[in-house]
């Protein structure tokens, strides 16, 4: 007997997965499906790498939220490859640091300017150690290679003493006073309001040096002298850092908060997949169980349950979401919860029709003759036949939910603590990125949303062709 038994078991194991293997064989043939699947696998790999912190350090969302963390990054610059592609000159990110361990009253730093274009901004950090005084005078003078000497900063300020060290930050581009100084120094015939400080500072002297379109960079050695003085007490400079911001950064550029968009976009993958898959999964489960129960029992139960479906499906999702966002705050759990609660009615009609058809089948009657309980019939006969189509519903629902979340974030209702693509688009829109031509802020998130949605849609189409309930055996 055991010999026979072993033979039977071998065949049993072969046929156990036969349905799955048949499905996979069919799926392999669909070019669309395989394309979508490969894309999805890539996205999942990226998500795993992101979540396990291999390519992005942990705590990234926190970093995303605090603009202070990004002060060393250039502001609103396109990706590096874009400048290479369009043949524009790149200004490399230059940081010149000098520390003075004992402190000095006058600090001098020199640097060599070699680039073919101008930096997008320049930041000067001066670390001072004030002793016994609040009032400090700082003077900054720059010596250009063409022997021009400009005092770009000369101010007396009061500084709140904080732990013996104080950092003074000076962003050169924004300072309108520097504009006035520069315009006057070079006797330019323009209003100081419209000049670009950096072009003038680092440009060859000419009447056009105030605009980056016509100015030419002045190459050579520059020297910066920083002087401090006080009335009473003592002030010493411990560290000076000059940052010349590049005009391009990284793979995806930066936004107006100076955040590296590449990392932000990468972070969007696991979140988008999570939101889409989780919401779709929950919605499908609720919908399928509801439809099976409603259709199996039929009669009044079915009537009542279907009326509930009618009511729920007529509740407008967006106003409810807005309302809840206002009341409870835009938390992700709430958003997913409401989406599940209001959109589970999606696939009900088809599943219900399928269950009606299966319910009348003779083999169901046969199971009852053998003494099957309702639970048995639903679990062993009805659900397995409904499951393939439910799988399809789940797959096809994911892009919808990803888009919904993106749309919500875009409208400002999304969870602001999470760096989702919708959030990025939201920030882009409130900063007018599209209008100002900062395409690297607007287009990549959009494309990624579309690609993720597309991959699911392609898989869904391939799955539908194979599992369509209309195609009977």
């Amino acid at each position: 007997m055991s010999n026979k038994f072993e033979r039977y078991m071998k065949l049993y194991r072969k046929t156990r997965w036969i349905k799955l293997r048949m499905f996979w064989d069919d799926f392999k043939h669909s070019k669309l499906g395989m394309c979508g699947l490969i894309m999805l696998i890539i996205f999942i790999i990226i998500s795993i790498l992101v979540v396990t912190n291999t390519i992005i350090p942990a705590e990234f969302p926190k970093k995303w939220r605090s603009p202070g963390e990004w002060s060393d990054y250039p502001e609103l610059v396109p990706p590096e490859w874009w400048l290479k592609l369009t043949g524009q000159p790149i200004f490399p990110h230059t940081v010149v640091t000098k520390t003075f361990p004992e402190g000095k009253k006058e600090a001098i730093i020199a640097f060599h300017y070699d680039a073919n274009t101008f930096p997008t901004d320049a930041k000067l950090n001066v670390e001072i150690i004030p002793k016994g005084t609040n009032i400090i005078r700082i003077t900054i003078i720059i010596h250009r290679p063409d022997k021009h000497k400009i005092t770009i900063y000369d101010k007396t300020e009061s500084i709140t003493e904080r732990a013996n060290r104080t950092i003074i930050s000076l962003f050169i581009r924004r300072e309108s006073e520097i504009s006035h100084i520069l315009v006057n120094h070079f006797k330019l015939n323009v209003s100081p309001d419209i000049v670009n400080n950096l072009c003038i500072l680092f440009g060859e002297e000419s009447q056009d040096m105030w605009t980056p379109a016509k100015a030419k960079p002045l190459k050579g050695s520059y020297v910066l002298i920083i002087r401090t003085s006080t009335f009473e007490g003592e002030v010493k400079i411990s560290k000076v850092k000059l940052t010349l911001y590049a005009n391009a950064y990284g793979l995806m550029g930066t936004d107006s908060y100076r955040r590296d968009l590449f990392l932000g976009l990468l972070w969007g993958f696991p979140i988008a997949l999570l939101i889409g898959i989780v919401t779709s999964f929950l919605t499908t489960i609720v919908g399928v169980i509801y439809a099976v129960i409603s259709a199996y029992y039929g009669g009044y139960v079915d009537e009542v349950m279907q009326r509930i479906v009618d009511i729920v499906s007529s509740i407008p999702v967006l106003p409810v979401l807005i309302l809840c966002a206002m009341i409870f705050g835009p938390k992700l759990i709430i958003i997913i919860g409401i989406l599940v609660a209001l959109t589970w009615t999606g696939g009900i009609k088809t599943i219900r029709a399928m269950v009606f058809q299966i319910r009348e089948a003779p083999y169901i009657e046969m199971a009852r003759v053998a003494g099957a309980s309702t639970r048995w019939i639903i679990l062993r006969h009805i659900l397995p036949q409904v499951l393939p189509y439910s799988f399809y519903l789940m797959v096809i629902g994911v892009p919808g939910y990803i888009l919904t979340e993106a749309g919500l974030s875009y409208l400002g209702l999304g969870d602001p603590t999470l760096p989702t693509w919708g959030q990025i688009l939201h920030d882009a829109s409130i900063h007018g990125a599209a209008l100002c031509g900062y395409w690297w802020w607007v287009i990549p998130p959009g494309i990624l949303i579309a690609l993720v949605g597309l991959s699911f849609a392609m898989i869904g189409v391939a799955v539908d062709k194979i599992l369509n309930p209309k195609l009977k055996y």
């Binding site: 038994f5 039977y8 046929t15 009852r368 003759v369 003494g371 062993r380």
Partner: protein
């Protein structure tokens, strides 16, 4: 006939299906019903093959379902092995379900297309929690041998769509035998099979009956097969039995006008038949089972009625004839023949 044990007894069984005309039909006073089974009584003896024969809509299939308690009767009683199971709740019917099973008309539709043959046959075992996996394989293998589906390895793991019509029906028969039942309802088991294998399946059923002392309720509209296979035949019309006797009696000596019409209508493979028109002594069409007239329900189609004496005509119009023994073990419900 020796005093034989009655295994199934139907007492004045009725099944009326209400006609719903929408949600508001609950407010309608006059409710309409489809009177599928309208008061039938009969006994089935252990070991016999009892046949319910009739045209479509006569209620034979519904009766079969009532006897298996797949439907609850509107009125009347069902008695199985001396226990009244008319109103027993489903949970207490486990023993009953083990002792009864069914074979149905379309063997392909009677199997879940995603189940292997093993899963189909072992489903009753699993429902009743009988046997471990190995034991189930043992039992199923023995059943496959019994229905002559060999070699067993070839069939155990096949899917229904990989089997021929005859093989599928054998699998359904094996499933019906899984729990060692005593009573099997066979609803048109061979009507969808090819002519050359019908006899094979019927022979198999007969062999199984002798071996296992089974009792069959055979439901069909094909009188020729009924005569060949069954011991006793009950002819049904519009939810009632109009004639009940042994198979040979019904075929050779029909009494009720309806039975006579049915017998006359059956074609025979005799080439001389084509030279004359087949005369069927019946009028009109089958009436709807909703509005059943009082009195004998066959009255509108009965050719005997037209030539009957006045006294009997009056009875036919007003009173429904009961099923009465008019000859030895030959029951008819027709006023012409009841004394």
């Amino acid at each position: 006939m020796t005093n034989r044990e009655v295994i199934v007894k139907a007492e004045n069984l009725k099944k009326w299906f209400p006609i719903k005309t929408g949600l508001l039909s609950i407010f309608k006073k006059e409710k309409l019903y489809v009177r599928a089974v309208d008061g039938i009584s009969f006994n089935i003896f252990r070991g016999e093959t009892f046949c319910l024969v009739g045209e479509s809509g006569c209620g034979k299939t519904t009766t079969g379902r009532l006897l298996l308690r797949l439907l609850k009767p509107t009125d009347g009683r069902i008695i199985f092995e001396n226990k009244d199971i008319t109103m027993t709740p489903e949970k207490q019917l486990i023993e009953f379900r083990r002792k009864t099973s069914m074979i149905s008309q379309d063997p392909y539709a009677a199997m879940n297309p995603r189940f292997t043959v093993f899963e189909v046959i072992s489903e009753p075992l699993t429902i009743h929690k009988i046997g471990s996996f190995e034991e189930k394989i043992e039992i199923v293998s023995k059943l496959l041998e019994e229905v002559k589906l060999t070699p067993i390895e070839e069939f155990l793991w096949r899917f229904p769509h990989q089997l021929s019509g005859g093989q599928r029906q054998r699998v359904c028969i094996a499933r019906a035998l899984a729990l060692n039942p005593e009573f099997i309802v066979a609803d048109e088991p061979v009507s969808m099979l090819d002519l050359s294998i019908r006899a094979e399946i019927l022979q198999l059923l007969r062999d199984l009956q002798l071996k296992r002392n089974l009792t069959y309720l055979y439901i069909t509209h094909d009188l020729s097969t009924a005569r060949y296979f069954c011991d006793r035949i009950a002819v049904m019309y519009l939810g009632k039995i109009v004639e009940l006797s042994s198979a040979d009696e019904i075929a050779d000596n029909p009494i009720h006008p309806y039975t006579k019409a049915l017998i006359a209508a059956v074609p025979e493979p005799d080439p001389s038949n084509r030279l004359k028109m087949r005369e069927v002594p019946i009028k009109g069409e089958i009436p709807s089972p909703i509005n059943i007239p009082s009195g004998c329900r066959f009255i509108n189609r009965c050719v005997v009625y037209d030539n009957a004496p006045e006294k009997i005509k009056k009875l036919c119009k007003t009173k429904e004839p009961p099923l009465t023994e008019v000859e030895d073990n030959h029951y008819v419900s027709c006023w012409m023949y009841i004394k």
